[in-house]
Symmetry: C2
Subunit: 286 residues, 2 copies
């Protein structure tokens, strides 16, 4: 193992402080662990762009609106350490919940409009938890760049708002979603799907793809585009869609009419597992 595993904030700061001497750049990949090739892609990008790469592994209780989702969230620490090490990461920061929240948290970062719809609407408090823990982690690691996956596109928009509005001195780098051969976006929650559910799960991406082709073909009416997506869901009754939305790609506010690039985003349940995915669609792209 070359990657150092660090459990405390003070140790992490010491390691980063040493690494920073001599103008070396610091990259941070915040994760909740249960690492997969999507995280691997973030690490690869960070490794290519920064001198010292820190991966954080922290299942943040504050961002789970659903306690049972928090409890069931996969935890695979040993595998995650080996995975990070194999990708040339310099340090893995894996704090306990007590280290991150030593007493009742009173200060939270709240984000407005960008956190209001889609994930914000269906997971009350989720983005407050995300914004707060990302602010904490960025203040602890103090990286030059932090890497986030496009799969959580609204999360990236929220994090960008936190960074610009609170003047955090870090650049946010967005890395494209990694997908299975059939199109299913990689997600730590996929591990909880049965083989049959796994077959069905791709319907979310298919609905997004159909809707994207609709936009690319010139359709501007979002009700029509949503109907195309709804037909896909009808073919996969094992999937229970929670929302399917067409939004401004920066503000993440739903639009009624497509007048430029849009973010198509959806959430759907397969059994007890909630999956999300999204794609960017550009009118007239084909």
């Amino acid at each position: 193992m070359n990657a150092v595993t660090i459990r405390t904030i003070s140790e992490l700061r010491r390691a980063v402080g040493e690494a920073r001497r001599g103008d070396r750049t610091i990259g941070c990949v915040p994760t909740m662990g249960a690492l997969h090739a999507g995280h691997g892609s973030l690490m690869g990008r960070a490794r290519a762009e920064c001198d010292f790469v820190v991966v954080t592994l922290f299942v943040n209780p504050a961002q789970f609106n659903d306690v049972s989702d928090y409890e069931r969230y996969p935890r695979t620490l040993d595998a995650d350490l080996a995975f990070s090490d194999a990708r040339g990461v310099d340090a893995v920061f894996a704090p306990s919940a007590e280290e991150m929240y030593p007493r009742e948290q009173q200060a939270f970062v709240d984000v407005g409009e960008v956190a209001e719809f889609m994930e914000g609407r269906f997971r009350p408090g989720h983005f407050r938890g995300v914004a707060t823990v990302v602010a904490k982690l960025l203040n602890i690691v103090a990286p030059d760049k932090a890497y986030f996956g496009e799969k959580d596109a609204q999360q990236i928009a929220v994090v960008r708002r936190v960074v610009t509005d609170l003047n955090l001195p870090v650049e946010i780098v967005e890395v494209a979603t990694v997908r299975e051969p059939d199109g299913l976006a990689l997600s730590s929650r996929n591990a909880r799907l049965s083989p049959e559910q796994r077959q069905m799960a791709v319907a979310l991406f298919e609905a997004l793809s159909v809707a994207r082709r609709c936009v690319e073909a010139g359709e501007r009416d979002t009700a029509t585009i949503k109907r195309c997506a709804a037909e896909v869901f009808l073919r996969f009754p094992a999937l229970r869609p929670e929302y399917f939305e067409i939004a401004d790609p920066e503000r993440f506010v739903p639009v009624n009419r497509v007048d430029g690039p849009v973010r198509l985003a959806g959430a759907a349940w397969v059994g007890q597992v909630r999956l999300i995915d999204n794609v960017l669609a550009i009118p007239g792209a084909r």
Copy 2:
């Protein structure tokens, strides 16, 4: 003039970045300008403890619950620059409101219980504005230490919560309140008092002092202590007390019984001017 005046975030970061080379320590004194000897005391402490001292001058619109208070807040930039320069400050950061809030702010720092009572109760939104701008300024200046005056004791408690809960890498230093010979706490708002009002204004400190003596003499019942303070206010009818509270000195939650050190804090109006003050009282101290 030796102190550099800086108007933009990028320039300020460049200046601090250069100062930081060679392990020099950075001190920050956040102010809203209209500087007086209270600020001078903060600067003196920062100058003694840090290699490079930044004073920030920014009348933060986000922390004024009352627009007319914001508009009437004294602004004395030239005098403030000379004042800072005379105290050996290295850089004065005086950004415009547009520089600090270039677009509608969406991300705010919200603080819980510690911001709920006293100033938090009578100035709705005030501490959200304070917490947010302090987070911004600390992220911009990235000091090792930041200096705040005891006169705004609840503000210090709020700032401490922001720093610890969001893991900002800065030490908060509290500096004792500077008072006029008669006891009136120095405040930029004192400049708006007429000579007659100025005479009356000291009643707030007198009420606090009477209550403190009550605590020091062993009185534990807060209703009794408040009655002592109320008698002082009765002698100064030009003062309209807004609150007079006896609170836990860290949590800033009012207590019903004195069981240890308490913070006595009050707010009162003299004409159109709202004054606040506070003292620490230790049972049995005399």
